[in-house]
């Protein structure tokens, strides 16, 4: 746990419709089941899909629902460009766990498509990682969609990311509590695929984060 009031801070980021709230609910349950205090600052409101969304997720002795800038121990992004969008929250050498998926905004698509010289290209995951590396070297990049498909259900990306998060040795929630919370909150029919997705995420991330 970090020094500031023994609180472990996670910034979740993603795009509306990806299931960020479920991800947050699962880890919330896992934290509570592990006997840890948890507090979140969530972004609800306009229900449109494809907007930028976030959850401030704090475990330990949180006071404010919002993580101060530069104090997130982890940044978990379900969409790569959204990791960069909230980089001000990430602490120096904090952990980034991010999907390599990019969902381009329509304005970006427009500038790429309409450039007759073909000089404009989409922002790449490599571009994003390069920027994040100026804050931390601890970045886990996951092909979360591919891993979810391998697990047998494309909609288990959440579980891939949770598995990867749990593999980080700073993370205060035990792996089995996290798995239990996943299985408790996903639809019963998808439990096997989610469990597999959790394992695949765990495997892809462990080893990357030794300090």
């Amino acid at each position: 746990m970090s020094k500031e009031g023994k609180t472990f801070n996670i910034m979740f980021a993603g795009v509306g419709g990806q299931g960020l709230m479920l991800l947050s609910a699962i880890l919330g349950k896992a934290a509570v089941d592990s006997g840890l205090k948890v507090m979140t600052g969530e972004q609800h409101g306009l229900s449109q899909r494809q907007g930028s969304i976030y959850v401030h997720f704090r475990i330990g002795e949180p006071i404010s629902p919002l993580i101060p800038y530069g104090k997130a121990d982890m940044l978990i992004a379900m969409e790569a460009s959204e990791a960069l969008r909230y980089v001000e929250y990430l602490k120096e050498n904090g952990v980034v766990i991010m999907s390599n998926r990019i969902m381009p905004s329509v304005t970006e698509t427009k500038s790429v498509a309409l450039d007759k010289e073909k000089q404009t290209s989409y922002l790449s995951v490599e571009d994003i990682v390069k920027q994040l590396e100026q804050v931390t070297s601890r970045i886990v990049l996951l092909d979360s969609l591919e891993l979810a498909i391998q697990a047998g259900n494309a909609r288990t990306e959440n579980s891939v990311l949770i598995g990867a998060t749990v593999a980080c040795e700073d993370f205060p929630i035990p792996a089995e509590e996290a798995r239990g919370a996943v299985l408790a909150l996903v639809p019963p029919k998808t439990q096997n695929a989610n469990s597999k997705a959790f394992d695949l995420g765990f495997e892809s991330s462990s080893g990357c984060l030794g300090i």
Partner: protein, 633 residues
């Protein structure tokens, strides 16, 4: 999940959103009648009450046509002897306040509580309105929680205060309180069965005008004094002891920012954590400020507390140095966080901030320079996208794009101000488009066009529409009929055959209503038949008098969810690259987030996991390149 915790009959800890804790608090208070119009950041209160309606089966609920009706509904229930509750967003109280001021005069009977949620930063509102003045202006007790736990405890307390003093009680929150999730200690749940009262058993008089009003006003002042006495004693107004003669006055979520900032700075200043915004506990506050040389007031938005404490200090502690907005330390803009508060506390106490937040922000800004914006956008499958596309084509064909004025209203379609539509002449408040249109029609040579959604139509647009028709105004009105109140989470409204919790309700027949009102022309179109809509829109715009274009197609999020429930599969579309000629109409004029460009051949690809299969894009494509994917059996 947490709805299960709302239903629990035992006490104990639960992880809850503050909005859910409010619902739990109301249930623990045996609330019997609830009514709401949805609005962020309070919508989850309505949704949670709706979700457990069938489970409890011991309270009644309306999704009301607007906030004023909702407040009147719960006031009526209170007069009839039933505990009642409503909640609304900041600007919702503007609508409800007409009745609220009178309710304060007449008083009520059974416990009646109204939550209003301000939205500093205007995350999802048209203004950063400060609703704290409503309490004082109307003489209605107003309290403010800081946490989810307090949200629950204060809701229960609000019912007691309301019932004891026979008054409405307002709970004031801000977005960061409503959308905060934490561990909450639940109390026991002892629900009683629902049973209608007899007026003879509960009756009172709720009437105010002239001499009656003057008599009631005198009573209201006495009542306020009595409430104030109680508020001097409540533990929700507490002094957290600390060291030195620099103290802090704060309330709501700012209290949490203050606590964390002090921890970061390793200081312990005495803090007055205020729980009652009106009436203020002046004696307790006086005692607190008397021992101080400097008082830091930490509050978002206007200097509500600061001006009141300054007035108090003038008599009881004239040399008190007040640090706040007037001293230039805090802004009246936006919402606060730990860094904002920490910086001021560090400056005043001569400490060093725990982190160079400015440097962090500056570095982040530089790193983000490469990041494209992600502006809000209509969902894949949204019928509004087709309606607005066809509208633009119609204006182009009629060659009148520069000879119209477009007055928009509150809903997802507010986003019509963004590219590619850029209709942004006006957008003010629920239903305002039609009132504004009346004035513009009088004053302008141009064609006046207004747009409302179905929920906004019944919320506050109807009087404006009646007014337009009555005055023979030459205005065209779009009604975007997507079946639900989409923007706040697809709640039902008078345009739905359902009420809260999916219980049956009567759907208002929209076209018959317009017919009866005397609309000169009513056309109905399906925005998924996007090309056909162009002609329909032209016809309505060219008609004399008041014309209505009902664009009817259910919200895609709602429709897709219903399809899923029925076991129907969504069939996404694909772009047939052999047909696609790279004309980019779908990119330039349509802005669907499911459509991206393949950089290898510069042709479009439809992201099948994002696509809703609406095929509006096929209608927009000059060569019909998109089509449904083949369904593998």
């Amino acid at each position: 999940m947490t709805v299960e915790d709302v239903k629990r009959t035992d006490s104990g800890p639960a992880l809850m959103l503050a909005n859910e804790a409010v619902v739990r608090g109301a249930f623990e208070s045996d609330v019997k009648i609830v009514a709401f119009y949805p609005g962020s950041p309070t919508s989850e209160i309505l949704d949670t009450f709706g979700e457990v309606l069938e489970h409890f089966d011991d309270y009644k609920m309306h999704i009301s046509a607007n906030e004023k009706v909702a407040l009147e509904t719960v006031a009526g229930a209170s007069m009839a002897g039933m505990r009642s509750f409503t909640s609304m967003k900041s600007v919702g109280m503007n609508v409800a306040s007409d009745s609220m001021f009178s309710i304060a005069y007449t008083g009520l009977n059974a416990g009646c509580v109204c939550l209003i949620a301000d939205d500093p930063y205007a995350h999802s509102s048209q203004s950063e309105q400060d609703g704290r003045y409503f309490g004082e202006a109307a003489y209605v007790p107003m309290i403010e929680p800081a946490t989810a736990q307090e949200a629950l405890d204060m809701t229960k307390w609000a019912f007691e205060v309301s019932e004891k003093h026979k008054t409405l009680v307002i709970i004031r929150t801000t977005t960061r309180v409503n959308h905060q999730r934490e561990m909450v200690d639940l109390g026991d749940l002892n629900r009683t069965p629902f049973k209608k009262n007899k007026w003879a058993d509960v009756k009172g008089q709720y009437f105010t005008v002239g001499s009656v009003a003057r008599a009631l006003k005198a009573k209201l002042l006495d009542k306020t004094e009595a409430v104030k006495k109680d508020f001097e004693k409540t533990d929700f107004n507490k002094v957290v002891p600390g060291n030195g003669n620099v103290g802090i006055l704060t309330s709501g979520v700012c209290y949490l920012h203050v606590k964390e900032a002090m921890q970061n700075l390793n200081i312990e200043l005495p803090v007055f954590k205020l729980g009652t915004l009106f009436p203020l506990p002046e004696k307790k506050l006086t005692e607190f400020i008397k021992s101080l040389s400097t008082l830091i007031v930490v509050e978002e938005l206007t200097p509500y507390l600061e001006t009141r404490i300054a007035a108090l200090a003038q008599t009881v502690s004239p040399t008190l140095n007040i640090v706040g907005k007037r001293s230039g330390h805090f802004s009246e803009m936006l919402e606060y966080n730990v860094p904002i508060v920490e910086k001021v506390l560090a400056e005043i106490t001569d400490k060093k901030v725990s982190m160079d937040y400015d440097a962090v922000l500056k570095k982040a800004e530089r790193l983000k320079e490469i990041l494209p914006e992600r502006p809000p956008i209509f969902c894949p499958g949204c019928p509004h996208r087709g309606t607005l596309w066809a509208f633009r084509q119609a204006l182009q064909q009629l060659k009148i794009r520069d000879n119209i004025v477009f007055n928009n209203d509150i809903g997802c379609y507010s986003m019509a101000f963004l590219p590619p539509n850029e209709f942004s002449d006006s957008m003010l408040a629920m239903g305002a488009s039609v009132g504004i249109s009346a004035g513009m029609e009088l004053a302008l040579e141009d064609k006046v066009i207004a747009m409302v959604g179905d929920s906004t139509l019944y919320h506050a647009a109807l009087p404006g529409i009646v007014n337009l028709i009555h005055h023979n105004s030459n205005v065209t009105l779009f009604v975007l009929d997507n079946s639900v109140t989409a923007m706040t989470g697809q709640q039902f409204n008078p345009n739905s055959p359902f009420d809260a919790g999916g219980t049956p309700a009567r759907k208002i027949n929209m076209e018959k209503m317009f017919e009866a009102l005397g609309a000169d022309k009513i056309v109905i179109m399906d925005p998924y038949e996007t090309r056909d809509c162009i002609g329909t829109i032209k016809e309505a715009i060219e008609a004399d008098g008041f014309s209505v274009i009902i664009s009817r197609r259910e919200c895609a999020l709602y429709g897709d969810r219903e399809k899923k429930k029925r076991g129907e599969k969504l069939i996404p579309s694909e772009n047939i690259k052999d047909t696609c000629r790279g004309i980019y109409a779908c990119v330039k004029e349509f802005y669907c987030p499911a459509i991206t460009v393949d950089e290898s051949d510069a042709k479009m690809i439809i992201q099948s996991d994002l696509c809703d299969g609406c095929l509006e894009c096929r209608q927009v494509c000059p060569v019909d390149a998109p089509r449904h994917m083949e369904v593998k059996e």
